[in-house]
Symmetry: C2
Subunit: 350 residues, 2 copies
DNA sequence: AGCAACAATTTGAACGATCAAATCATCGCG
DNA sequence: CGCGATGATTTGATCGTTCAAATTGTTGCT
């Protein structure tokens, strides 16, 4: 049968040139004369030739593949943020000729095992990590291996020895609080998470400093609970009924949905309307008309991919480039820490 | 530096055998004597050897890769069902030694272009499709190429000439309706989608036949609107206030959330409690305490992967196996049409 | 003893690309 | 006119694996 897939040699014969010239047209077009280049291009499209990634990878040790752990199969509301992030990364990566492999893991150690497999067997070019936390074994492991990677999320507490992209949670709650102040509210409560998580403390800080700057004492206007809808409801009851809060900023949409339910219930009984602002712009927020702080996920993903592909392209020419070295070059590192501003999505609730 | 990755030859030397024997230990262990097999295994673990997928793929034309389009970057509630499905497929595939590549596409033609690239460049072994619809170009294209694939979702209307796995929506709404009948309700309304979509008609049918069987005329108890929360609210107002429905079954959680808001509002004003049942078990449903019909996504994903990997393994031995042929063998096809039963998740709303 | 049948293992070639070095052509210039 | 420099293209080797055929070793049977 003549319907075998065309190889680089097929194309070469068709265009009356050698293998290598075809290869050059693809990888270093400037090295080949304009007219032959066109002839080769014609042959390529005519035959529908696509280079074999496997063969290329075998020789170059570059897979043009990027891997990412999918958010755990949970019923959590928060899951959708990461799912959307995976989507955005995939989309951005495609623009650079990279494809994305996803995988699941049940623990950080599982995840490291997966990295090891992907690295050795599939020769992945880079990784994108999410949900980093204090003393993360994954980042130290990856650093030791010298693999390029970016995390979506700052490493709280320690000075980062790796690249990251994150969203400025403090700026988000600041914007939310300011909006409520502008609307004339003073006793703005915060429905927060337990003290001690980097993200939660950051989001709380935005509310707290803004309120202080406006001359309001935040002390009595704070609750701290685990991230469930019911807790949001309970906190709202306490803040509004007992502590007389006249508006609420929440650390998450999950909490905010609970708070919103309480507030709407109160309204339908003829009580006062207390605005509620959430955080994350989850699908549920849209569904329930919840005003919320939206993370610029597309931009975050694009930045991650940008950092990685730029680095990979550079290390093609300049073979001294070792990601570990590069990360150690501290003056260079600041450019690889990107903090993006979120924005408010205004809906009925606030 | 001696820290190059070990190759099959490294292992062979270490174990005092030839390349091919190592290869056999990995791919056809029965051909190798027990003691040498152990010796080779020892060398493998000792050196931490992992076969190069690229090299293997170059020779065998098998990538052990499976591809899937991610649900569009939308704010839709429904998105999360597909996201969870992607996750479940990835998880199942890992169990069979397959990794998953995800990609995005803006249209079916884009998706076909992606398939073409993935097939030619990456030599993907199989595809999983979601969101199939009437006259789907993608399935006919894939069939013509002779690539193994499964769709999650039946091809409505036509007799399927390809493998599919789906969830029995009719059974889901039947269960929901029966539950409400058992609780003593009679005038059970259905908040549905516009007539004409396969999935929507199927879900409506479950409610309709069950209601008829119970001796209730469904005619005045139906609304049909696009899938938004607001439409759910509006429909609920109409069905409950004007047409005196005393319970509601909805075609989706999105609609149900709107209906639920209406009902809860009514309750807090002292009105009667009207139970609401949704469909899909989205994260929002859990958050809002919505009773809903849950699709067995893990099982569906597992079945998809099962069908594909079984076929791929078979076609390794038996090289006459051409997916197109196999699909054409009609008596065989029925086994490759799998309909799974959903189940009710009971929460506060019903 | 001789030889077929079979099991276990090894050897050469191939998959499809890129790298590194070699070849060929063209041109400028003393 | 010859020779080095430069640019365009080609050739041989190689990446790490599996396939197909060849080799070696063992056993059973006449």
């Amino acid at each position: 049968m003549g319907n075998d897939r065309p190889t680089i040699t097929t194309v070469a014969e068709r265009a009356n040139v050698s293998r290598q010239t075809v290869s050059n047209v693809l990888n270093a077009p400037h090295r080949v004369q304009a007219d032959t280049r066109e002839r080769v291009q014609a042959a390529i499209t005519e035959l529908g030739y696509r280079p074999s990634r496997a063969a290329r990878q075998l020789r170059t040790h570059r897979s043009n593949l990027l891997a990412m752990r999918m958010s755990p199969f949970s019923e959590e509301l928060a899951g959708s943020v990461l799912d959307r992030f995976v989507h955005a990364v995939t989309e951005s990566a495609q623009g650079y000729g990279f494809r994305t492999i996803v995988f699941t893991a049940n623990s950080d150690d599982d995840e490291i095992a997966a990295y090891s497999d992907l690295l050795n067997s599939y020769e992945l070019d880079a990784f994108v990590l999410t949900g980093t936390h204090h003393r993360d074994r994954r980042t130290t492991w990856l650093r030791k291996q010298g693999v390029p990677f970016v995390t979506f999320g700052r490493p709280w507490g320690v000075r980062a020895r790796h690249w990251w992209v994150d969203v400025d949670g403090k700026a988000g709650t600041t914007a939310a609080t300011e909006r409520l102040l502008d609307a004339g509210h003073r006793r703005i409560g915060f429905v927060g998470w337990p003290i001690g998580s980097g993200v939660g403390d950051d989001r709380r800080a935005g509310w707290e400093t803004t309120l202080r700057a406006a001359g309001v004492d935040p002390a009595s206007l704070l609750t701290s609970t685990e991230n469930t809808v019911d807790n949001g409801h309970v906190s709202a009851v306490e803040l509004v009924r007992e502590r007389k809060a006249d508006a609420l900023v929440c650390a998450s949409d999950t909490l905010a949905l609970g708070a919103l339910a309480m507030v709407r219930d109160q309204v339908s009984r003829g009580g006062p309307a207390v605005p509620v602002i959430g955080f994350d712009d989850s699908p549920s927020a849209a569904a329930m008309g919840l005003t919320t702080v939206a993370q610029p996920l597309r931009a975050a993903a694009a930045t991650c991919v940008d950092l990685l592909t730029n680095f990979l392209d550079r290390s093609d020419d300049n073979d001294t480039a070792d990601p570990a070295d590069t990360v150690d070059a501290v003056d260079n590192l600041a450019e690889h820490h990107v903090l993006l501003a979120p924005h408010l999505v205004v809906r009925q609730s606030g």
